[in-house]
């Protein structure tokens, strides 16, 4: 939204429509377009490794955005997001394998199925608040994990489910380059939808519920409806993200759908900045790239060679945790906030305000 950024002097808005634009200024819109263009040209420069990282950032960013919708924008902490992510992956594989639904349709359909499941778990959210809700969603995580391990008709049990690559009228999205473009389209669509949502009445209602739900209720905003809606939307996003992951890897298993992934997603939005659309992507990028960067740093310093250099492997783990702690100590409001501060400093230099 166009609020929250410092604008240049003399930039006056005279109509509502001007106030509600996606980008605060034409320059900002142009920058975004250029960035998108560069992204589309990325496969010329990056090899599979870089594309794989970007694809991972893409679908984790979508999942993080979903979590941000429910936690950052509506104020309900959810610790069960990974379960919905996994559900979407399994649902998409199941739809495309068992029912022959084309993959590109199965992905959004999986999202819808996940949203329905999310609505079921969102219903208690109307009554429970804050940290209690966090633990209730934690319970949902374990219950769904148990369901995945039991429902072999759905998940393929111990062997997991194989997911086919996406196929659009014979154009198979196999290989990193093609899948990268698919993910870019998905990211643009989902992020665009969320950004749009936040400038509509429903989006503002969600923010009102987060900021002061009593006042919101007094003003006539139905709390239960928006809380449940937020959960449903978040699950939809998680489901689509899971489906994207499933068809990229080609295999879905319950091994990686656990509480640690939920915590990691929460970490993404906290570090990226709660209540910020861009922050979701930044946080996902941080969580994906940071271990790689630490690993690369250790390699470059020649510390980890071939063979198990055990002491330093643990140092890598420790440094990842330390980076998270240090980051939060110095910037508790997340990357998005830091980005805004940097932009403001750049614009106002040498003045301070």
């Amino acid at each position: 939204m166009s609020t929250g950024t410092s604008r240049r002097c003399g930039d006056f808005r005279t109509r509502y429509a001007q106030e509600m634009t996606w980008f605060p200024s034409p320059r900002s819109a142009a920058a975004c377009a250029i960035g998108l263009g560069l992204l589309l040209l990325a496969p010329l420069v990056l090899k599979n490794y870089g594309l794989a990282l970007l694809i991972q950032i893409g679908y984790l960013g979508i999942a993080a955005l979903g979590l941000n919708l429910v936690t950052g924008f509506t104020g309900q902490i959810s610790l069960g997001h990974a379960a919905f992510f996994g559900f979407g992956a399994f649902a998409s594989a199941w739809l495309s394998n068992r029912h022959g639904v084309p993959v590109l349709l199965a992905m959004p359909a999986a999202g819808v199925l996940t949203a329905l499941v999310g609505l079921v778990f969102g219903a208690p959210a109307a009554r429970i608040k804050g940290l209690y809700l966090a633990i209730a969603t934690l319970a949902a995580q374990y219950i769904l994990e148990d369901f995945f391990n039991r429902a072999t008709w759905f998940t393929g049990g111990a062997a997991g489910a194989n997911a086919q690559p996406a196929n659009l009228f014979g154009f198979v999205f196999s290989g990193d380059v093609r899948y990268f473009y698919l993910v870019v389209v998905a990211v643009v669509a989902m992020f665009g939808f969320a950004a749009n949502l936040m400038r509509t009445r429903d989006g503002r209602a969600m923010v009102a519920v987060r900021d002061h739900y009593l006042a919101a209720e007094i003003m006539g905003i139905p709390l239960a409806r928006y809380r449940i809606l937020a959960f449903g939307l978040a699950s939809f996003y998680a489901g689509v993200a899971g489906a994207l992951m499933g068809h990229y890897v080609g295999f879905v298993s319950t091994e990686s759908i656990n509480i640690l992934l939920s915590v990691q997603m929460l970490g993404m939005i906290i570090i990226g900045g709660m209540g910020s659309i861009m922050g979701s992507l930044l946080g996902a990028a941080f969580m994906v790239l940071m271990p790689e960067a630490v690993e690369g740093l250790f390699h470059a310093l020649g510390l980890i060679g071939g063979g198990a250099d055990k002491g330093l492997v643990y140092l890598k783990e420790i440094s990842i945790g330390l980076v998270i702690i240090l980051f939060l100590v110095f910037e508790p409001e997340g990357l998005a906030h830091r980005w805004r501060q940097t932009k403001a400093w750049w614009k106002l230099y040498p003045f301070t305000h």
Partner: protein, 297 residues
């Protein structure tokens, strides 16, 4: 119905429940005083167990001496963590503090892996040694000591919070930090003390669990089991934490009894506490003993 077997299950649940309650109590202590949810609680248990093992195997001291050394070390560790990691985040949204504790858990796990290695070890001198037979159930003596310590601890904390100056100061801080500060309570000291005590008690629990079940990096997952107990009892009630722990312990064991004898589903032991949790929260959103958040407009 096999009443003898049921009694054994109930007894086991009671004893294990007091252990859960002890860990839940640490959790609540930190929350009551500094409004921080400590996701690194499991790692505190792990560190406590490893420290005691380290003292015993490197210095060759017997269990009780290692135990005492561990309590001192854990208290210092708790204070250190509060000073270095948590204090900079006073006043920040609680979710940032949660994330920092998550980062802390990663760091602690890495450090214990580095110093002590990934292999599971058992305490020198065998596992808990003596077993006591209660109503046909063999229970390790260490558990009984642990349960006894938990009960004494609960009584001590109840007295502490009600009658001692420091305890009153802690309750005041939990109630309203600014008012307490304006009345002369040193918030810094309260925070340090609460984290130190929490770390100390977790270390004790960790030693008990480690002596019985062996120490391995997986011990930190014991902390996740505690969350249902804490929520069940209410996040800001010490008594609630112990009761919650006992309820969860009993529930798990009774679920296993029903599952083993009649239902044969296999998973009740793990999921029953969570289902129960969801049910309780639907009826009592603040847990059994939690204080109701009175909303003021």
């Amino acid at each position: 119905m096999k009443s003898g077997l049921l009694l054994q299950f109930a007894l086991n649940g009671l004893i294990i429940g007091t252990l859960y309650g002890m860990v839940a109590m640490c959790f609540v202590l930190v929350f009551k005083a500094s409004r921080a949810v400590n996701f690194a609680q499991g790692e505190f248990l792990l560190v406590g167990a490893w420290l005691c093992w380290g003292f015993m195997s490197q210095l060759g001291v017997p269990l009780w001496a290692g135990f005492l050394l561990t309590t001192v070390a854990m208290a210092l560790l708790g204070a250190l963590i509060q000073a270095v990691v948590i204090r900079p985040l006073i006043g920040e949204p609680v979710i940032s503090v949660i994330m920092v504790t998550i980062g802390l858990s990663v760091v602690l796990r890495g450090i214990t892996l580095w110093i002590f290695g990934p292999e599971p070890k058992s305490f020198p001198g065998g596992s808990g040694g003596a077993t006591v037979n209660l109503a046909g159930l063999n229970i390790e003596a260490v558990y009984l000591w642990g349960a006894g310590a938990a009960v004494i601890g609960m009584a001590a904390f109840a007295w502490f919070f009600k009658y001692s100056r420091l305890g009153l100061a802690m309750r005041a801080t939990a109630f309203n930090q600014q008012v307490a500060q304006s009345l002369g309570v040193s918030i810094q000291r309260i925070f340090i003390v609460s984290w130190a005590i929490s770390a100390l008690v977790s270390g004790v629990a960790g030693v008990v669990v480690g002596v019985v079940n062996g120490i391995s990096p997986g011990l930190s997952l014991f902390g996740i089991k505690v969350f249902p107990a804490v929520i069940l009892g209410g996040l800001d009630s010490i008594v609630g934490a112990i009761v919650g722990g006992i309820v969860i312990g009993l529930l798990e064991n009774l679920a296993q009894f029903v599952d083993g004898e009649y239902l044969h589903w296999g998973n009740l032991y793990v999921v029953a506490p969570f289902y129960a949790l969801v049910l309780v929260l639907m009826l009592k959103p603040y847990g059994l003993f939690g204080t109701r958040d009175i909303e003021r407009i």
